[in-house]
Subunit: 349 residues, 2 copies
């Protein structure tokens, strides 16, 4: 079933050759290669700042770092700084800040969702319980602010503080749309923008800020990150109904079982008849799940083509992300950032 | 029983008349009267910054604000600023920051402890569940940083970020000493200093920082707050084994039932015989609680005089707090701050 629902091969075949070429190189490798030295430095900053005389903090933080993750957000900061021709060192610390804020959010998110898997490994809260996850999240969040205070720029601090508040608002919004089958696409997008895209936007924007580039470039990178982040989350939510667990390191069907309403369901609810809506209400609103319900859900999503359409929506935001970089002249860094967009929308492969 | 364990009347009778006079005025009223206008302004800042387009955030935040609390920490910032002769407006915003950080910690602490009561009202997590408590805590924490970024001082931001990291470390440390009957008095004090006293210290220190007073005065106020905070927590932990619920707005015996090892038990474990230690291990380490166990615990604490001695230890830190203010000339603000120390150690009455 997973093969039928993410028909990216077809989409690829329909594209012009030039874009297909870019698509074939769609991975993080280009950006990774470009910022490899900086990324090593970021990992050093992360490791240094995870240390605490309180052993449990270092242990739990090491567990998260060992689980790894792609370091996508800090790489965006490094790539954006490179795109802006920045030659200093501030981007390294700020990339670490971005990753710390992200990690703190993950820790608190795992408590909230009670998810059993994260990045293919047991979540911290499954191993240590909810308590340390909340508190170590707070610790990492505080560390992010300590690092950015040491960086010494009130503008940067303002961006990070605003972003953190937006993230929290997004997470709370998500709680209120959870289990609500009448969630609109607009409400869904608002949640996605706040809880995911805002940090992507900040990560990219900081590259222009440290390079002291004009406002238009800062805004371009913010917009690039924002649209990339929306596309990323849209694909993520589509994959929750279609990717192999081993590939994604994430359980398929989690969102369905958690009653977390995402775009595939938002669209299917609107496109469905009354009997189908009753099904979505029973399963996702009232949480009365039976054995065959996930198969039925998949059948409905497939019939209405809503997983495919969610990916299609992601392509729209991807296109906006790419165009946002238009005012930057061609460069290795620009190519690498554009490849990230392709990667984010094509990671189902 | 509660009357026997906090024998402050005797202590009072033994004190010289001058100090007794101070003790009789031991309340927050003096400080409250002195900073009333500023405190109203702080409440305004708090109300403004609790607002969010996300309704659940405003609702939950309003619940916490309605529950009220003494606003002790922000009053300390206001009082310290007054003591330093500060005539500007920055102390108002920073006092609100301090209260937001405190409230965020409370929200996360309630999730952690699963306490049923806080300030005599149902805790936020009992009403809304753990999820919103974690996320609204994150929101308030971010707001604190937004406000302090707007204040515009990197020194202040550094103090707040460092304090937030210390608070988180203290909370995690507390988890690791919880249920450990062999916790030493030193380890207990370390937890108390980090999770409670550090924020008192920052609250007071900020008064000197905004007034741009010399380092010695800043250090004096930091030390005043730190020792006051330790005394405050010591009394709080003693009261958990002895105050009437209606008076304190907190369930008696919570710490015992949660297996949270505090000084009365630390001392009783060390002073007890093997049979007593087996009792503490069974109840607080293994959590095997029977009907009569709390009465037995109270009897052991009373026999070894450890509640009384915890209060006695609090007096030691109170004395240090008072002496820390020695270099400030006599003033209304100084008297008011000294009355807070008396209030904190005498609130069992």
């Amino acid at each position: 079933m997973t093969d039928t629902i993410v028909p990216l091969k077809r989409a690829q075949a329909e594209r012009p050759a030039a874009r297909r070429k870019g698509a074939e190189g769609a991975s993080l490798d280009h950006l990774h290669g470009l910022v490899a030295d900086d990324l090593r430095a970021v990992n050093g900053v992360i490791l240094d700042n995870m240390q605490s005389p309180v052993v449990l903090i270092s242990e739990l933080a090491a567990h998260i770092v060992a689980a790894g993750g792609k370091r996508l957000r800090p790489m965006l900061t490094l790539g954006a700084a490179r795109l802006c021709g920045y030659t200093g060192k501030r981007h390294v610390d700020l990339a670490a800040c971005v990753e710390f804020i992200h990690t703190a959010t993950l820790l608190h998110d795992d408590v909230v969702d009670d998810s059993a898997l994260r990045r293919g490994a047991a979540t911290a809260n499954a191993v240590w319980g909810n308590k340390p996850s909340v508190l170590v999240g707070d610790f990492l969040f505080s560390r992010a602010f300590q690092i950015s205070v040491a960086d010494g720029s009130l503008r940067v601090l303002g961006i990070l503080a605003d972003t953190a508040a937006t993230l929290a608002e997004g997470e709370v919004m998500q709680l209120t749309t959870s289990n609500d089958t009448e969630t609109s696409e607009a409400a869904y997008l608002k949640v996605v923008t706040a809880k995911t895209a805002a940090l992507f936007a900040a990560a990219c924007r900081l590259g222009a800020v440290v390079a002291e580039r004009p406002a238009a470039e800062e805004e371009a990178l913010r917009s690039f990150g924002l649209n990339l982040g929306i596309a990323y989350q849209l694909v993520d939510d589509a994959l929750d109904y279609g990717a192999r667990e081993a590939v994604l390191g994430k359980s398929v069907g989690d969102d369905f079982r958690d009653g977390k309403i995402t775009l595939p369901v938002v669209l299917a609810f609107r496109r469905g008849d009354e009997e189908e809506r009753a099904f979505w209400r029973r399963t996702m609103e009232e949480g009365e799940l039976e054995e065959e319900d996930f198969s039925r859900a998949m059948a409905l999503l497939t019939r209405h083509g809503t997983i495919e359409d969610s990916i299609e929506r992601a392509r729209h935001y991807s296109a906006m992300a790419c165009d946002a970089l238009g005012l930057f002249p061609a460069s290795d860094a620009k190519d690498a950032l554009l490849a990230v967009v392709e990667f984010c929308t094509r990671r189902a492969h």
